[in-house]
């Protein structure tokens, strides 16, 4: 026997209840979207996080959008580290391709470049995110895995060792750029391979693709003492990085695009590091390329590095 007490499905819903449900939905939407919209347009902590999430790729942003992003980065640094920084977006200089040359006869392994780089580029002080590694190699050895980047003898140079500083080689055919699934890393017109830290998804494919171990991952929010933060920063360079993104050497983009020399070159006590414009026919780099016995690291991989090593002899 069918139960006649159950009303048929076509029974109309009580109009009072329907109005109530409608009203509640509208009220809920208004209550939630209002603050979200307010937060997005505002410059509070939540608004800045949302702006970071919804921000476009660096190369697709307009001038105004970049200015907004720079202001947002400065606010976030103030909030996280309590230090006022200046974030800029200095554009590449026309007719300049940066290149590095390193004299292996002069490098004694003092490692001042590493310290200066970490300081200049606001690198994490608590993790292995140093952009330069000076590898102590046994005499006669050329294979990178045989070297020791953590050497700490009383005095350098140690007998029977030579020192090979390795950093991003700013390849003209960068394998890291090809490996990135989201296009968060690319080669700038002046030859510097850069990362948009806000576009990086942290998959670390680029770190695997790089044959020079030049890319490092921020496993934690960078540990930065307030008084050690470098104030002059660049969007693609040394601004404090968020957690979960890759970072690398950018030839000190914030310095070199203004005409200064990179921090590692400025710190080197022996003058082993030479930096300049590859396209300047009278420059130091071209003199070295034309007159010295040069080599590039792992050249056989076809990465076309813009980083040459040479010796005095």
């Amino acid at each position: 026997m069918p139960n006649h007490n159950i009303p048929p499905s076509s029974t109309p819903i009580d109009p009072v209840r329907r109005t109530l449900v409608k009203g509640m939905a509208i009220a809920t939407a208004a209550v939630t979207t209002g603050p979200v919209l307010a937060a997005m347009s505002g410059d509070g902590a939540v608004g800045d996080e949302l702006q970071t999430l919804l921000q476009k790729h660096y190369r697709r942003m307009s001038k105004e959008e970049i200015d907004q992003a720079l202001a947002r980065i400065e606010r976030q640094a103030m909030r996280t580290y309590g230090r006022k920084i200046i974030c800029k977006d200095t554009q590449p200089i026309l007719g300049v391709t940066f290149a590095f040359a390193l004299n292996l006869s002069k490098c004694k392994g003092f490692r001042h470049c590493v310290t200066a780089c970490t300081q200049e580029n606001n690198c994490n002080r608590g993790e292995t995110t140093t952009n330069i590694r000076v590898v102590a190699m046994p005499q006669g050895e050329r294979s990178l895995p045989k070297g020791d980047p953590y050497y700490h003898p009383e005095k350098v140079p140690e007998p029977g060792h030579w020192y090979l500083p390795v950093q991003c080689q700013q390849c003209d055919n960068p394998p890291c750029v090809q490996a990135c699934p989201v296009g968060a890393t690319w080669r700038e017109p002046d030859g510097i391979v850069t990362i948009d830290y806000d576009w990086c998804i942290g998959c670390r494919y680029c770190g695997v693709a790089c044959p020079y171990w030049a890319r490092h991952f921020n496993w934690h929010l960078p540990l930065l003492p307030k008084e050690e933060i470098t104030e002059e920063t660049h969007y693609l360079g040394n601004r404090p990085r968020p957690i979960g993104v890759m970072e690398k050497c950018t030839f000190c983009i914030q310095r070199t695009r203004k005409g200064l020399l990179p921090a590692c070159q400025a710190a080197c006590p022996t003058g082993a590091r030479i930096f300049g414009n590859l396209l300047d026919p009278t420059g130091e780099i071209r003199y070295i390329l034309e007159n010295k016995s040069i080599f590039r690291l792992q050249e056989e991989q076809g990465t076309e590095p813009k980083f040459w090593y040479f010796t005095d002899i």
Binding site: F110, P149, L260, F275
Partner: protein, 167 residues
């Protein structure tokens, strides 16, 4: 006699002709940075002339470590006898300490050429524009030119998960 005159005239003409060539291949201009260490010699030798004989250096020179050129050189091989704060060039002229690179180039021509073109020594300031470079004495002690071993900066922090220690 005429032949000699002709040769002289020809040589002079050739010299004049080659001047623009030399000027065209001029070395890059540069500016020296940093201070030059003053010599202490004139403190005493201004009134007491130096002994010209080569000899082992005794007091008050015993603090002076002379290890340049495997100890083959001694004071007056480089310093001008009459004025010890100048350097004696092979040509007979002399240069002050601020122009020491000219004197150094007499033996270390390759290094000084590399220095002028930028592959030896250190450039300061900017990678473009006028070249400001450190003079020889900024890095090399003229009496002990070799670099001395020194303690390195601390190693980078190691990952907690991967041991890079050597077996």
């Amino acid at each position: 006699m005429y032949r000699i005159k002709f040769q002289f005239a020809l040589g002079f003409t050739l010299c004049l002709l080659s001047l623009p060539l030399i000027a065209g291949e001029s070395l890059p201009s540069f500016q020296l940075a940093g201070q030059t260490i003053p010599a202490h010699c004139p403190n005493c030798h201004a009134w007491r002339p130096p002994q010209p004989q080569r000899r082992p250096l005794l007091a008050p020179h015993d603090k002076l470590l002379l290890k340049h050129g495997q100890e083959a050189l001694w004071c007056l091989d480089c310093h001008l006898v009459q004025q010890l704060d100048r350097l004696q060039m092979r040509s007979g002229s002399s240069v002050p300490f601020t122009e020491a690179w000219q004197f150094c180039s007499e033996c270390h021509a390759r290094q000084v050429r590399d220095w002028r073109f930028g592959s030896h020594g250190k450039r300061l300031g900017s990678w473009q524009g006028e070249k400001i470079i450190l003079p020889c004495s900024a890095c090399h002690d003229a009496h002990l030119p070799a670099w001395k071993p020194a303690p390195p900066a601390p190693p980078p922090p190691q990952s907690r998960f991967i041991s890079h220690a050597k077996p």
